[in-house]
Every structure is written in C-alpha cells, then in structure tokens.
C-alpha cells in the first residue's frame, strides 16, 4: 500500500443512468441528451427526460467548448489524491449547447488568474476504462 501513488477517484462505468456518458468518453466524445418530445436538454444523464419524464432521448455530442460559470481554488483537501493536487481549481462550465457540468480547470500556471466568463474547452485525462473531461482556457 505504502508505495501506491494515490489516483483520481474514477466514476463507476456501470452506474445505470450515466454509463452511456462514460462509455462515450472512451472515444473522447462529450455527450448530452436531448428530449425529442419536449426539447429539454438533459444533464446529468438519465434514462428519462427531466422536462416530461418521457424516454425519447437522443444523445448528442458537445463541441467541447464552453464558458466558465464559477470556480473555486481548493487549498485544503483530505482525499489521498486531491491532497496531492492542492491548490487546484474546481469549476462549473456552461457548454455552448446548454449543459452545465462540474469539472477541474487544468493547463493554467496559477488558478487565481482564472476569470468567470472566460472561454474553456475540454481536454481529456486518459484512463484505462474511460476518459475524464477536464477543461482548459483557450
């Protein structure tokens, strides 16, 4: 145990509602659902529509670009992996297609220079069974 480098806690790829989202990340596709009955953009992914409870959902692919809605720089964390990452930025990103997702901002020297409203795009952190969507300013 002592020589094991702590790693990012990964999603459960078999969780029923979100399994398809994570399956698509293997191809570096950032997916979201659209309801063909009422037009609602559903996110986080589910088997039903949050506008009408219907099940007529179609997967669409985001272009991976969006806007920083808000963020915080975490300076204290107890999780074995994240305590090695501090300080790091956690953020809400509004994708151009509508979904708001929680992520980490990467690729910045000093996360204190981040600004709400700035443009960000997805960068994939590669793992064996799936890939993790992080975002960087561009």
């Amino acid at each position: 145990m002592s020589d094991t480098t702590p790693t990012r806690p990964l999603p459960n790829p078999d969780e029923p509602d979100t399994a398809e989202f994570w399956r698509k990340t293997k191809d570096k596709v950032l997916g979201y659902q659209h309801c063909d009955d009422c037009g609602t953009v559903v996110f986080y992914p589910r088997r039903h529509c949050t506008g009408c409870l219907g099940s007529n959902l179609t997967w669409q692919a985001s272009n991976g670009e969006g806007t920083l809605y808000s963020y915080s720089i975490i300076r204290q964390a107890y999780h074995p992996f994240f305590r090695t990452q501090v300080p790091f930025a956690v953020a809400w990103v509004d994708l151009d297609e509508g979904p708001r997702l929680l992520t980490n901002i990467t690729g910045v020297e000093d996360p204190a220079t981040l600004e709400i409203g700035q443009r960000v795009r997805v960068v994939w952190e590669e793992h064996e069974a799936l890939n993790i969507p992080l975002f960087e300013p561009f």
Binding site: N12, W22, Y71, S72, R75, Y78, V90, R100, L101, I116
Partner: protein
C-alpha cells in the same frame, strides 16, 4: 400587529450542552437526554407525546427505531430527511398535523457525534458511484466548502460583493457567541485558537480554505444535539413556559439546472410562502436564525428571504447591522451560530431553539422585547442541490 391563527406552539426546548462528548455518549443517547430535558422544560411527560419527527440520525427505519428507543407508541411518525433543514420541515409538519387533529404533542430530536467521529465534512471528498449525480461530479474532488465557495465567487462576479462584506457575518456571529458561555466552551473544547470577538481583518486574514472562503467563514464540526416540543393551543396554555407560535412555513427545493442562477437559493421560494402565510414581512423580524454553514450561505439567504434585494446583501450587512444590540436589521444567529457555537452536521434544530429562547427572553444576546423571528434551514448544499425550510415564529 400579528393576528394569525395560532394552531401550534413550541413549548419545550433543549440544546445538548457539550460539543465534544469524547465518545461518552451516542447520538441516540443525546436524542433521548435532550427529549427528557425539553419535555421537562415544557412541563410535559413522555406519555404526553403522540407524534415524533425524525431525520434518521439514529439509524435506519428511524421512525420505528426511535419510537421503541424512547418508549413511545406515536400516532404520527414523520421521517422527513432534508439535511440541515429537516427540523424546519418537522416544525411545519408538526403544526400541520396538530392543526389537523392528528396529534397534540410533537417531539423533534437530534443527536450527532460528528466531531468525535472525526468526520471531515468540509474538506472531505464525496464517495462516488452510487447516485448518478455523484458519478458525474466526484471525480473533480469538489469539497463541501468549494461547493459554497463557487456561489460566493459567482456572487462577487455578478454583484461586486467583497470578502470584507462576507466577513461581517462571521464577525456578528462571533460577537454573539462570546456572550454565550456554551458557545465559548464549544470553541475551547474544539480547540479554536485565539477565542475572542473578531474583526473583519481577522476574518479575511485567516487561512484561505477554498477561494474566496477563509477559515473564519466556515462552520465548526461539533458533536451535539437537541430537542423541541411542539404542542396544540390547549396543551400549550398549561405548559411551564410561554408558547412560541408557529405562524407560517415554507418549503422549497433547488438543484443544478442548465443556465440556472447559482446565487439564488430555494429560500427565494420558501421565504415568500412562509412570510405570506404568517402575514408578516422580513422587515418586521426581530430575530433571524439563518443557517450559517458559511458566510455566503447567510448572505444569499438574507437576500432570498427578502431582507434586501438580490445582489444587495453585501452592502446591506455592512456596519454591524446584524448584531443584537444594533438597530436597522434583525439580530442574526444570537447563539453564535454554526460558525461559532454548534454545528454537528444538521444545524436546523438549533435555529428553532434559539429563536424560541429569544421570543421567551432567555437568550444570552437578548433582543429587548423580541416578538417575531424567522428560522431558515438550508439542507444539502447551497451551490448544488438543497432544500429550504422557512418557519416564522411569534410570541404572544
């Protein structure tokens, strides 16, 4: 002047005094001891209780478990669990059940050993992979504090709110805590450093935990618990203490939505319901018991409850307006709040308890002739998914 129907009243209260039980008692024992003390405060007996309200802190199937543990065969059980706002929901439901004739004496209890269990509530990561939302979020390492911090960051961005303004909430709360011997002992037992009244400079000079929230803007993690007894008017008139009437209540839910405004909480919906039912306005409140998990929680909730407009909270809290000995606003969290007195994980019951103390004239930071109070619980997390419970209370 208040002229509402008086269908149920808080008649008994107890706040468990210790915030660090060092493993000597269990959450269940804290609940039972608090129940006994609150019933004694009311001048009632266990056999008078016919309804129990429980947020599940005693374990699974809590309605059944607690009934047997206390030695009760209640005709009403309500196990609503919406985190720290559960007790505002319970008070509202108790009033409803009593008004419907289903019960006469309702018992609410809470017990927690979060501190003794070394629960890293604030800076811990969440377990992932069970709920689909968790499965989409826990890979980010978002801490509970960061969840709230992102509301503060957005509030600052949209409205120009400053850390100095947010610090006013911590300063006012500590000002009250230093007048409450139990709060001072709590801070000593939990090994707070340099226990004294604070300044804005102290707060913004304290260590940054998750930008823009500093250490002194974050609540403590204590042990603790308490109990509240709510009774019908017929029972209340013969109780030992003056009744604290439940005039109105509101409940609401909010969660992340595409394009949603994170600076607005569920209080924007529950507040108007509660004030409307009570027939009173925020400006009439002598006391505001607002769930202070963090400074930003109070700022956002004060706005949403209607004490000022959305975005104006920063300027509104300036100048010590929220202190018990200053005019121009309600006295905020006069027991010392979750920031400086008591936060074992679900603080909602203490909001009712301190509001009742104020309306009885028993607070350690007593507002002279306090007549009206609002207790607002926020359960869950402000920046993502939470429930709001607002309760309006009045004395005769």
């Amino acid at each position: 002047m208040v002229s509402q129907a008086r269908e149920a009243a808080i008649v008994g209260i107890h706040e468990y005094p210790s915030r660090d039980v060092e493993g000597r008692v269990s959450p269940l024992q804290i609940k039972a001891e608090s129940a006994a003390a609150a019933l004694a405060d009311a001048g009632l007996a266990l056999s008078d209780v016919d309804a129990i309200y429980d947020a599940g802190d005693g374990g699974g199937m809590s309605g059944l478990t607690i009934a047997e543990y206390f030695g009760l065969k209640p005709s009403v059980i309500d196990t609503t669990n919406v985190g720290g706002s559960s007790y505002e929901y319970h008070a509202a439901h108790a009033k409803r059940d009593i008004a419907a004739g289903k019960a006469k004496v309702a018992l609410l209890t809470y017990g927690s050993t979060a501190h003794s269990n070394v629960q890293r509530i604030g800076a811990g990561g969440r377990a992932g992979g069970i709920h689909p939302a968790d499965n989409m979020e826990s890979f980010t390492g978002m801490t509970l504090i960061a969840n709230y911090a992102m509301v503060a960051k957005r509030h600052m961005h949209e409205y120009g709110t400053t850390s100095e303004q947010l610090a006013e909430i911590s300063v006012a709360t500590r000002y009250h805590a230093m007048r409450n011997p139990e709060a001072v002992r709590a801070m000593e037992d939990l090994e707070f450093l340099d226990i004294r009244e604070t300044t804005i400079a102290d707060v913004i000079g304290s260590r940054m935990i998750a930008d823009p929230l500093h250490l002194l803007e974050c609540c403590m993690i204590s042990d603790g618990g308490g109990a509240v007894v709510i009774a019908s008017p017929e029972v209340a008139k013969n109780c030992a203490k003056p009744p604290v009437w439940i005039l109105g209540s509101g409940e609401a839910t909010r969660y992340p939505e595409n394009g949603g405004d994170m600076t607005v909480s569920a209080a924007a919906q529950s507040g108007p319901q509660a004030f409307g039912e009570a027939g009173v306005s925020p400006a009439e409140m002598d006391i505001a018991m607002i769930y202070d998990s963090f400074s930003i929680t109070v700022l956002a909730l004060l706005e949403d409850l209607g004490f000022c407009a959305k975005g104006e909270g920063g300027a509104w809290v300036e100048g010590g307006r929220l202190r018990f000995d200053q005019a121009g606003g309600p006295a905020l969290n006069t027991d010392g709040g979750g920031l400086s007195s008591n936060h074992p994980g679900m603080r909602g019951i203490f909001l009712l308890i301190e509001a009742a103390r104020q309306l009885r004239g028993e607070s350690t930071a007593q507002v002279p002739d306090a007549r009206l109070a609002v207790a607002h619980g926020n359960g869950g997390m402000l920046g993502t998914r939470h429930c709001a419970g607002t309760v309006i209370l009045a004395r005769d």
